[in-house]
């Protein structure tokens, strides 16, 4: 393995020499071997045929001797083989197989010498036998034993001289080859040194100087040509590089410009698209909002009472103004305060009830908007903690201000004109609906209420009492009926006139409407008698409530025409269902009976109805 690598690294000259020697030696050796082999084969064949010819000749010459069994003649004939080289011994047998004559080269002519192959110095390589025929009858046979030693010796001599001649010619050929090889390798090594110089110094101006026209000369020309090309290519490359650099910087600048332009175009386009989308969204929102408004309006149209507005308004307000809170404030009866009718959203304004002056919108009678709570003018009714933009819109219907619609947006929201428009539209719808419902309620009130006291009339009382009794029975809760009457009402009329009497009744009515619970019902029963129905109250509480009412009315101070009216008191009779009766009539009768008991007992007091009273009456 090592030697193989070594051979590979040898200079070309040595490689050529070794190759030449190897080829020559192999050629000569194989030629010599082939010569020796073929010659030897030929010699063996020749020897055999020659011996056969000799045997035939001896046989022919010894027919008579054999026929007459003449030993002398046979011996003479056989002795002629002495002239044939290589024959070691020969025997002539008669037809009975007896040896008639013998020949032995080592002891010539001694017919009787014993034949023993072991005793022979020459090895016997060939045996040839030939029958002796006389007149178609075999009369004996000749056997020749021969050695190839002489021929072998001859062959050896020949081969030796061939080898000597080969060695001599090889030596001469080597000398010639050495000279020739130098003429081949010298230009090659010159080329190699040129290439080394080029590769170490990168100097492409070097040229190989070889004036030959063979392959090496062509190679040198090729290398020179290549070096020239490389030199030219280098120069061109350098130039190209410069051009390319300037081209690249030019293109980069152009690309940058194009990019800039593209980006601005893209931005413009995005802006337009965003605007379009916004417009589209706004349109959609607008459409949705107005269909919601229309829907809300439809619902409000079928409401019977202002109270019924609450859920409708809350529902649509949440839908119309998501992410915001607000309230619908309505003037109370006296128009001194505004009260919240509906509140929605997470952040209702802090003040439940406020005066007209607490709202800039109510004060000015027009829309008040605050885009930024930090810088805007905030209504006093608003909480200090308000953080989002808000707006207050006065609700005006038929020329009257009904109240104010307040809307607070989330902090992140913007107060847009479209939103403002929407809120104004909503406020107009609400104001109209509210006005209609208030009108309707007023009309209703006129049919069920007593205009002087503002309490329900007797017809309404009758319906209500029966309904409440049925419910009491169903629920198993108590019901209390209080009958009250103004003490010495006749004296008031007589002393101060009917107007004073009316005033007394009106004031008592107002007081009762404030003093009783919302579920309680107060009615003008007739004259100066008033009936209060209190559902869900037991006997003890009924008494307490009645006593409170007595005290409350006693404390009312009345001014009439500069005079202070004094001595206002009431008497009260209390009946409890089902203890004092389970029908409207029986309960009212029981309460009436208890009232009379109170009157009899000296007025200005409360009397509880009893079963005896019922029976008595």
């Amino acid at each position: 393995m090592n030697t193989v690598f070594k051979f590979r690294d040898l200079p070309i000259g040595n490689k050529l020499a070794i190759a030449f020697i190897l080829v020559t030696v192999i050629a000569l050796a194989s030629a010599t071997s082939f010569y020796a082999y073929t010659t030897w084969q030929h010699e063996k064949e020749a020897a055999r045929s020659e011996l056969l010819a000799v045997a035939n000749l001896i046989g022919a010459n010894s027919t008579a001797a054999l026929a007459f069994n003449d030993k002398t003649a046979a011996q003479e004939t056989l002795a002629t083989v002495v002239s044939v080289p290589g024959v070691v011994h020969a025997v002539l047998y008669n037809k009975d197989g007896e040896a008639l004559a013998r020949f032995d080269r080592t002891s010539q002519n001694s017919v009787n010498a014993p034949i023993s192959s072991e005793s022979q110095s020459d090895s016997i390589d060939i045996k040839v036998a030939s029958d002796v025929v006389l007149d178609n009858t075999t009369v004996g046979n000749v056997v020749l034993y021969a050695s190839l030693a002489p021929r072998l010796q001859e062959l050896r001599d020949n081969v030796l001289s061939v080898i000597i001649a080969s060695i001599a010619s090889l030596a001469i050929a080597l000398l010639i080859a050495w000279r020739l090889q130098q003429s081949i390798t010298r230009p090659v090594s010159r080329l190699t040194s040129v290439m080394q110089r080029v590769s170490t110094s990168n100097d492409y101006t070097v040229r190989a100087d070889i004036q030959q026209h063979d392959e090496i000369g062509m190679l040198a020309d090729g290398i020179n040509q290549m070096l020239k090309h490389v030199q030219q290519r280098d120069a061109q490359l350098e130039q190209h590089r410069h051009e390319l650099e300037s081209e690249v910087s030019r293109r980069t600048a152009a690309l940058k410009d194009a990019n800039e332009k593209l980006r601005s175009e893209l931005e413009e386009r995005n802006r337009i698209e965003a605007g379009l989308k916004e417009a589209h969204d706004a349109l959609e929102r607008h459409h949705r909002d107005f269909s919601l408004l229309s829907e809300m309006n439809d619902r409000l149209q079928v409401c019977h009472a202002v109270d019924e507005m609450r859920p409708v308004v809350a529902h649509y307000a949440r839908k119309l103004f998501p992410n915001s809170g607000g309230a619908l404030y309505v003037y109370n009866h006296s128009r001194s305060l505004v009260e919240p009718l509906v509140v929605w959203g997470d952040e209702p304004p802090s003040e439940d009830v406020f005066r007209q002056y607490d709202c800039w919108a109510l004060r000015q009678g027009r829309v008040h908007t605050v885009d930024n709570p930090d810088t805007g003018l905030i209504c006093p009714h608003c909480s200090d903690a308000i953080i989002g933009p808000y707006l207050c819109i006065p609700m005006i219907a038929y020329g009257d201000v009904m109240g104010v619609l307040h809307l607070t947006l989330a902090e992140s929201e913007k107060l847009t004109s479209s939103l403002e428009q929407l809120v104004i539209s909503a406020s107009e719808h609400l104001a109209l609906a509210l006005a209609n419902l208030q009108l309707r309620e007023a009309l209703q009130a006129q049919s069920v209420r007593d205009p002087l006291t503002g309490l329900f009339n007797r017809r309404y009382m009758q319906e209500t009492l029966e309904r409440e009794l049925a419910r009491t029975e169903r629920m198993g809760t108590g019901l209390c009926v209080i009958m009250l009457d103004v003490d010495h009402f006749k004296n008031f009329n007589d002393t101060y006139g009917h107007e004073a009497g009316d005033l007394v009744l009106h004031e008592i009515g107002s007081y009762l409407q404030k003093a009783i619970r919302t579920e309680d019902i107060a009615c003008r029963y007739g004259g100066e008698e008033i009936l209060v129905i209190m559902p869900g109250i037991d006997t003890d509480n009924a008494y307490i409530r009645a006593e409170e009412l007595r005290k409350g009315i006693k404390n009312i101070s009345l001014q009439h025409k500069g005079q202070t009216l004094t001595g206002l008191s009431i008497s009260l009779g209390v009946a409890i269902a089902p203890v004092n009766g389970n029908s409207a009539d029986s309960l009212v009768d029981a309460a009436d009976a208890a009232l009379y008991k109170a009157k009899r007992a000296g007025r200005d007091q409360v009397m509880m109805a009893s079963e005896q009273d019922l029976m008595n009456s």
Binding site: A64, A67, A73, D135
Partner: protein, 170 residues
Amino acid sequence: MNRLLTGIVTFLVTAIAVAAPTEYEVKAAFLYNFAKFTEWPSASSDSSLELCLFGNGPYRKALQSLEGKHVRDQVLSVRVLDTADIPDSCRILYVTAEKTDMLDAIYKSISGHQGLLSVSDIEGFTQSGGIIEFRLIDNKLRFAINLQAARASEIDLSSKLLRLAVAVKE
């Protein structure tokens, strides 16, 4: 038992006969060999080759064994002569030593007889006009040839035969 004895006797007799051929037998074999080394004129190319014996005694039996043997494409036939008058059909004539006294008559009959190979034991046979004469030298059977007589009789003898002869008269 009898058969065994007979076998043994037969074997012994045969062994003795093989081991030592008689003089007559050797001479018969020589006669046969002479025929093989001899060429007769083309005219006498018959299918049979007649061997005539002039003499008596044990030769008859020995020569009878040659009857029917082939010499090239001819078959040997043996004929015993009673007189010295030799018929034309004879190709080989063998005269035993007993007939020495009748030699003149024999010569007379031979001379002018074309295509006859004459052989005899008689001493001086080749000197007087015979072609082959047996001679006993060192107790071995040899022969002499009169080539002149052979040519006169138009008999062609092989040179191989001539080489074996103890004497050749030209």
